[in-house]
């Protein structure tokens, strides 16, 4: 985030989104395992460079585990439940690169940078503003959820398997009601802050973020093109 103000050391959210769309659209079809593995490694590299190494390692390990588990299950005699698990796992496995790039976008994009980038794309504010709120608000709600959970545990109505099965609707009520009432209050404050920052203006805002394309963006777009061709034609 510091790099956004000084020299740019990471790609802009627009090229990350383009990369995601390029691989996302074609993964539905039949893809060679080697290509997917290359994609996983490349996304892992992106996560290492611009996010956290531990996150990258987690995803790459998950992929390898699923891949080997599938092939072990295939060796076993054909029980239809195994076949079902193999198919589900092979479909989910394909989407792991998307999860990785998505994680990169959601964890490293700041709301201000996102709004500035979307303004450059001439994206209408009715779409970009709610999305920026999601980026800004997500960690807050996650934090709320953890405190609600510990408060519930303190009163002996923790989220144990037995409790959820015995009183499903009551458990939901205990989680949702505090989550909603605290969020609504924060929401009012957020919109006051947004108006103070001039988000209600009709004209374009200026921004301190440098959202011009840099060398990383060109590299990422090249990679997107390469993978698009690889997935579609190999």
């Amino acid at each position: 985030m510091k790099g956004d103000q000084k020299r740019r050391s990471r790609p802009n959210v627009r090229s990350e989104l383009l990369f995601l769309l390029a691989i996302n659209g074609v993964l539905i079809g039949n893809v060679k395992p080697a290509v997917i593995f290359a994609l996983v490694l490349f996304s892992g590299l992106l996560l290492c460079l611009f996010c956290r190494i531990s996150t990258a390692a987690k995803y790459v390990l998950t992929y390898c585990l699923m891949f080997s588990a599938e092939h072990l299950l295939m060796l076993l005699p054909g029980i239809s439940l195994f076949h079902f698990i193999i198919v589900i796992s092979s479909v989910l496995r394909k989407f792991i690169p998307c999860f990785m790039v998505g994680c990169l976008i959601l964890e490293t994009t700041t709301p201000g940078n996102f709004l500035a980038s979307m303004q450059r794309l001439h994206m209408p504010k009715v779409f970009s503003l709610p999305f920026a709120v999601v980026l800004r608000f997500f960690p807050t709600v996650k934090e709320d959820w953890h405190s609600i959970r510990s408060a519930m545990k303190l009163r002996g109505i923790g989220l144990s398997f037995g409790n959820v099965i015995a009183h499903p609707l009551r458990t939901v009520e205990y989680i949702i009601v505090p989550l909603l009432s605290s969020s609504i209050k924060i929401g009012d404050e957020l919109s006051a802050a947004a108006i103070a920052r001039g988000l209600g203006m009709e004209r374009d805002r200026t921004s301190v973020y440098d959202v011009r394309f840099c060398i990383w963006d060109h590299l990422l777009m090249l990679a997107a093109a390469v993978f698009f061709v690889l997935i579609t034609f190999v």
């Binding site: 996302n24 394909k94 779409f127 503003l129 999305f131 999601v134 608000f137 959820w145 949702i176 009432s181």
Partner: protein, 195 residues
């Protein structure tokens, strides 16, 4: 009451906030889907659990377009989180239809909101659809290597009628969720004056 049509910053903020809560709760529910068989009924569980959020949102969203935008933002986040572009398209269409359903006529009623929620919840189908669409492609590839036995058992597991059954199941779950949501609204939010 005269309806203002133009969306203001405050409305967009409301959409963002409710979308966030919806997504977080959806992720929490998603942990149930780790068990392979349960992931099929995940959209139904989501429809019940997220109903209070939607109900509260609808009372705050008095303008046309807000439900559409909520669905679009949720769909976009799900797409970025890796669920495929189909999710965004389907959720946008579901949101638009739900919006029309809720705002049709002069006055909203619980029935209209409930019908709208049934449509809104259908976007969950899009998240499971790739399993079937891809399953076919995968199955073609595998029938050569794994033989006919595999293909038969896979076909038995994923008959084509699963999708309509899923849609009906989500609708039923959404109705249950709608009544549950209304109960919670009356019990907590109307009494404390949050609405």
């Amino acid at each position: 009451m005269e309806k203002k049509m133009k969306l203001e910053v405050k409305d967009l903020m409301t959409i963002g906030i409710f979308a966030t809560i919806y997504i977080v709760v959806k992720i929490i529910v998603g942990f149930v889907g780790v068990i392979p068989i349960l992931c099929v009924i995940l959209p139904m569980i989501t429809a019940v659990v997220c109903a209070p959020i939607y109900m509260l949102f609808v009372t705050k969203a008095e303008k046309f377009g807000m439900i559409t935008l909520l669905a679009a933002v949720v769909g976009a986040v799900m797409m970025i989180a890796g669920y495929g572009w189909l999710t965004l398209v389907v959720s946008f269409v579901c949101g638009l239809l739900a919006d029309v359903m809720t705002n049709i006529g002069n006055k909203r009623s619980f029935g209209k909101i409930l019908a709208g929620y049934c449509i809104f919840s259908q976007w969950g189908v899009a998240m499971l659809a790739p399993v079937w669409m891809q399953g076919d492609a995968y199955f073609k590839d595998l029938s050569e290597t794994m033989g006919k036995e595999f293909s038969d058992s896979f076909r038995a597991m994923t008959p084509p009628w699963v999708i309509p059954v899923l849609i009906a199941g989500i609708a039923v779950a959404a109705v249950i969720g709608g009544f549950f949501g209304r109960k919670i609204m009356k019990k907590h939010f109307e009494r404390s004056g949050i609405i």
